[in-house]
């Protein structure tokens, strides 16, 4: 085995083992941290695939930004409730119906994955090097060009989708507060302050 292969197995092992351990943790903070470790392993695999840009973006977006938000939410939930409830809180209340629905969805995902992997070779080489692209200068150049020419439409649609999700989150999170009488506390400072 060459060094690349050893690295592949080490990084792949980290990603798989950490992902499996995520669901086995009692403490949600530990789950979040293991997920970060898993993302780190994936990022290493991207570097092995000679895609440093994707690797770094993986760290910045997933391990950095998104997981910090996860951690933030988990920590806020810990603050909001008392320690006595800790065990009930970690184990989400089990409902038969939701478990069945989850099992069906998981089964569908497995079928989908198997189908995608099996047909990857026959569907016009999705995983192979993309033909007809300009000679790779660096991966950043290539990604940028492809993103804003060939995949411009999906790219823009995705951004609108994310915007819609953001607006939805704001609408859901906004609490209707009774308007203060006109003139009373016009600055309204204290209400808008975050709680921490």
């Amino acid at each position: 085995m060459g060094p690349d292969q050893i690295l592949f197995y080490v990084l792949g092992g980290v990603a798989v083992v950490a992902s499996l351990m995520v669901i086995g943790q009692r403490n949600p903070i530990h789950s979040v941290l293991l997920l970060i470790a898993s993302f780190g392993g994936l990022s290493g695999l991207y570097i092995l695939l000679d895609a440093p840009f994707v690797a770094v973006i993986q760290i910045i977006i997933y391990a950095g930004a998104i997981m910090v938000l996860f951690l933030f939410v988990v920590m806020l939930l810990n603050v909001a409730r008392e320690d006595t409830e800790q065990d009930e809180r970690v184990h989400v209340q089990v409902h038969r119906g939701s478990m069945r629905l989850g099992a069906v969805l998981a089964g569908l995902l497995v079928v989908e994955l198997v189908w995608a992997l099996a047909s990857a070779g026959t569907l016009g080489g999705t995983f192979g090097p993309m033909a007809g692209l300009p000679a790779p200068v660096t991966s950043v150049h290539v990604i940028g060009q492809v993103l804003f020419t060939r995949y411009a439409f999906p790219f823009e649609v995705t951004s609108i989708l994310i915007l819609v999700a953001m607006v939805g989150a704001v609408v859901l999170a906004r609490r209707e507060t009774p308007r203060p009488a006109a003139g009373a506390d016009a600055a309204g400072g204290s209400e808008e302050r975050p709680a921490f």
């Binding site: 403490n27 903070i29 770094v56 760290i59 950095g64 910090v68 933030f72 920590m75 806020l76 950043v140």
Partner: protein, 341 residues
């Protein structure tokens, strides 16, 4: 082992050693400058002019008892300072601090004065900085103390908010520099306009530089943005429960982060190692001078400005700094298209 490999390893160890020392030097400078600004003497007893004070401090910290709250999460409590200090050191690995050199002819062909020449260096710094947040957040959470937790929460909110402006300011420079490699960006700043003004990007990107410095101060949790450890409100914030060398590691990480942010600012905006009077092989002297000036600026800010209020900090980050940074990026992109890079 080839001489090049040996030279790289020596360089790596040297950078590590210098970063360790820079923390000690910055502690001394901070205390001396603070004393100057407040008409005091500052440390003067240990060694000539108090120069050995940082080493005395380190010795003192080593011999202090290492306390851990009983209710703390033992593993994460130990992990947090390690994450902080590792991220601080790792970020500097991709920062170039001098032109290519053969070390006075010792090597057959020149190597860059940089631990790792990565072609996405700027993004790597950004990625490692976002990992550094975990050190503080976990320290806050694992201590199981309300002050620590509040400090950790504040820091994560603050860092997420200011990382955006920080990234947008970086992106504007990268548009002009036309590369993600720091070495490339620095070399784009060689030479002069009209034989007088150095071609530093700070003259093309004054707004970007201002945003970068403000967001950089917020990212390193320095006053006037030192909310994670606001003494009057949170005792000592996220490191309230830490003592001895674990506390020292957080302290060290803060100063090394300052050095890294300053070094990146010098590379991106202030022409890196390019400067008049000195030959290219001694460019690192210019680099040190510029980084020193920015670090002084940091210390100066801390002892001049009072701390913001927390809601002001958030409002400033989201409602003022971020729109300005976005407009700056837009204007830069338009300029690059119109005038060519």
């Amino acid at each position: 082992m080839t001489p090049i490999l040996i030279a790289q390893i020596v360089l790596l160890l040297f950078v590590f050693f210098m970063l360790l020392n820079s923390a000690a030097i910055m502690v001394y400078v901070e205390r001396k400058v603070a004393a100057m600004l407040q008409q005091r003497l500052g440390p003067y007893l240990v060694g000539p002019r108090g120069l050995l004070q940082p080493f005395a401090d380190v010795l003192k910290l080593m011999f202090k008892e290492d306390l851990r709250p009983t209710a703390a999460d033992a593993f994460l409590f130990s992990l947090a300072p390690i994450i902080s200090v590792t991220a601080a050191f790792a970020a500097f690995a991709v920062v170039p601090f001098g032109a290519e050199t053969t070390f006075f002819g010792l090597l057959s062909h020149p190597i860059p004065l940089q631990v790792a020449d990565v072609n996405v260096a700027v993004l790597v710094i950004f990625a490692i900085a976002s990992m550094g947040v975990y050190g503080i957040v976990l320290a806050g959470w694992s201590s199981n103390s309300k002050y620590s937790l509040l400090g950790g929460l504040r820091s994560s909110a603050q860092m997420i908010s200011y990382e955006l402006s920080y990234g947008l300011a970086l992106a504007a420079v990268l548009l002009i520099g036309n590369s993600l490699s720091l070495t490339h960006v620095v070399n784009g700043q060689a030479g002069y306009w009209f034989h007088v003004i150095p071609r530093w990007y700070v003259f093309v990107q004054p707004v970007g530089f201002a945003i970068f410095m403000i967001a950089g101060i917020a990212e390193t949790n320095r006053a006037p943005f030192d909310f994670p450890e606001a003494e009057q409100e949170l005792v000592a914030g996220y490191h309230t429960e830490y003592s001895s060398m674990r506390f020292a590691m957080f302290f060290m990480a803060e100063y090394i982060n300052m050095v890294t942010v300053s070094a990146v600012a010098v590379d991106l905006f202030l022409g890196g190692w390019h400067g008049p009077f000195l030959p290219a092989s001694l460019g690192w002297i210019w680099f040190l001078v510029k980084v020193g000036a920015l670090l002084f600026f940091y210390v100066w800010m801390r002892w001049t400005l009072p701390r913001y209020r927390y809601d002001q900090l958030m409002a400033f980050g989201w409602k003022i700094l971020l729109p300005i940074a976005a407009l700056n990026l837009l204007a830069t992109a338009a300029g690059v298209i119109h005038f060519g890079a």
